[in-house]
């Protein structure tokens, strides 16, 4: 019996579409429901981050890094200041390091909550999305308490942080963690272990480890494929080597290693690990002055540096070239979602239209970061 070959249809998913996580256009060639070719078109959200950076001073770049990955601004700040401090050889006080780690991990939870919630939305579950946003809101409340902003913080500065922690911060933060930990079980009952959700995610969109590495996929997506790679552990920056935490890996519990479910599940587990880190950091939080090492004027020595940090989406790299003036010569951001999206064609071709949406959701892309 011959293969039935129908007419192929070109379908534009986006730029205005409910589940493209921003303004992304996927040009999809379909044969009925089966997708045979995917071409992503990006750039709709291009805001010239790199060109901007060449015209403002080093400290003024930080608000722009906020706006790249607007879901995890703290981590973006963190990556930039870590790179700058390495370039300028500043050793910041312990208190600053602890505060930064706490903030970055809180933001990691917030970002993963958004990723998981919208993933639920992509496969049609509405309620978990709102539960997760409800809890994310509490994290944003903590950030607002700390630095006054809810989404774009400009909190971490080269050599320090913009505000010291408020008086009651430890109690509030622990209070949130105590509130949040049981909620993960609720999400699991409501969404993760739901049979329909498993059917939609397990065995769908398998990304084998070697392909993942070749495509530069990083972060939870890479770990979902079973590759033990986490910048926090393998190239420890800041003070991540002082904490005990595990790196969750995709195990193919309900399907193949590297499927959409694994990528989802790694994120759920990472939230638990982040909670662990925050608890340890709050326990050891030292006293001290957070403004002490902020340089009066940022004039890094001539040279270039590439440093990567672990943002919720993967390896966030900054390539900074300084020519000795207070204005950067070149700032390049290697955004993790950019590489993850480039692998979409490889993963999602041959799956159904609904699966393409689900796979796109499981990659957890943020278009602000891809287009910069």
């Amino acid at each position: 019996m011959g293969v039935v070959q129908g007419d192929q249809m070109v379908l534009n998913i986006g730029p205005q579409h409910p589940s493209t996580h921003g303004v992304l256009r996927l040009q999809v060639r379909t044969d009925g429901e089966i997708v045979s070719e995917i071409k992503p078109y990006i750039g709709y959200l291009h805001r010239c981050f790199e060109k901007h950076s060449e015209n403002v001073t080093y400290e003024q770049v930080i608000p722009f890094t906020d706006r790249c990955d607007y879901v995890a601004s703290m981590n973006n700040n963190f990556g930039y200041v870590v790179t700058m401090e390495e370039l300028m050889e500043i050793k910041v006080p312990d208190r600053v390091e602890y505060i930064r780690v706490i903030m970055a991990e809180l933001n990691r939870i917030a970002s993963h909550l958004l990723a998981l919630g919208t993933y639920g939305l992509d496969v049609g579950a509405f309620t978990p999305f709102l539960y997760m946003f409800r809890d994310r809101e509490r994290i944003l409340d903590i950030f607002e308490l700390t630095c006054g902003a809810r989404l774009l913080y400009n909190y971490m500065w080269v050599g320090g942080v913009s505000h010291d922690l408020p008086k009651d911060f430890e109690r509030i933060c622990i209070g949130f963690l105590d509130y949040f930990e049981p909620k993960i079980k609720e999400y699991n009952d409501l969404l993760t272990h739901n049979k329909i959700f498993l059917e939609r995610t397990a065995d769908v969109g398998v990304l084998p480890p070697d392909v993942a590495i070749n495509f530069g996929v990083s972060g939870p997506n890479l770990r979902g494929s079973g590759v033990n790679w986490d910048v926090r552990k393998d190239e420890p920056y800041s003070i991540y080597d002082r904490f005990e935490f595990e790196i969750p890996l995709g195990e193919g519990e309900f399907g193949t290693v590297g499927d959409s479910f694994d990528r989802y599940w790694v994120r759920v587990c990472e939230m638990k690990e982040s909670i662990k880190i925050i608890r340890q950091a709050i326990k050891d939080l030292p006293d001290g002055d957070v403004f002490q090492t902020i340089p009066k004027k940022i004039r890094p020595p001539k040279g270039s540096i590439y440093r990567r940090t672990e943002s919720p989406r993967g390896d966030l790299g900054y390539y900074i070239i300084s020519d000795g003036s207070p204005i950067p010569y070149r700032v390049k951001m290697r955004s993790p979602a950019f590489t993850a999206l480039s692998s979409l064609g490889e993963i999602a071709e041959g799956w159904m239209l609904s699966d393409v949406i689900a796979i796109l959701g499981s990659l957890d892309i943020v278009l602000g970061e891809i287009d910069r």
Partner: protein, 194 residues
């Protein structure tokens, strides 16, 4: 065959668990409700346990405000702004540290600094402001700040400043000067000085 029935059983139990959760939430809506009825109820609402109180805020990012009497026209905030939404023009004052009653210019700031410049224009375009707070820190006189929060003694909080016209979001903080007053300041008459 066993797998077939196990599958069905798994489906039934997991779906039942999920439905139990939504049912519990529906029944406990009085307790769990997180909605804020915005224009009537303002955040923070006491019943909603967000874990902290409004007074303990050490910072807020609402709207920029300038106490122009304290401004010495040093342009530090203008230079710190990454999006160039602050515009300052200054004119050299005839005498350092003296009031000029005609244009309601005060000569000495609250911190006791003598002002050498008259700020003839100080505009902040709040439609361009990115609330990064970078202009607040360099100010030597602490005269530019976000209203409310710890600064509420100086200026009440204002975070609802939407306008129908974009031009209305440009805030002018300096005292209005007529063109004659301006030219008089720029080209001081010799007898006025005497």
């Amino acid at each position: 065959m066993k797998k077939y029935f196990a599958n069905i059983w798994g489906t039934i139990t997991t779906l039942k668990t999920g439905m139990g959760i939504t049912w519990r939430h529906m029944m406990n809506i009085k307790k769990d409700n997180v909605t804020l009825q915005y224009p009537e109820e303002r955040w923070p609402r006491p019943e909603r346990d967000i874990g902290f109180e409004h007074e303990k805020y050490n910072v807020i990012r609402s709207r920029l405000h300038v106490d122009i009497d304290d401004c010495i026209g040093c342009l530090k905030c203008e230079r710190a702004c990454p999006v160039d939404c602050i515009k300052i023009d200054t004119i050299k004052a005839p005498t350092r540290g003296e009031d000029i009653p005609d244009i309601r210019h005060t000569g000495v700031t609250e911190n006791g600094t003598n002002k050498a410049l008259v700020v003839s224009r100080f505009t902040i375009d709040m439609s361009e402001c990115c609330y990064c707070n970078l202009c607040v820190y360099p100010c030597p006189e602490e005269c530019i700040y976000m209203v409310g929060g710890p600064n509420s003694p100086k200026h009440p909080i204002d975070y609802e400043f939407s306008e129908f016209n974009r031009k209305d979001l440009i805030y002018e903080f300096s005292k209005p000067l007529t063109s004659e007053q301006k030219s008089e300041l720029m080209n001081p008459k010799p007898d006025a000085k005497a």
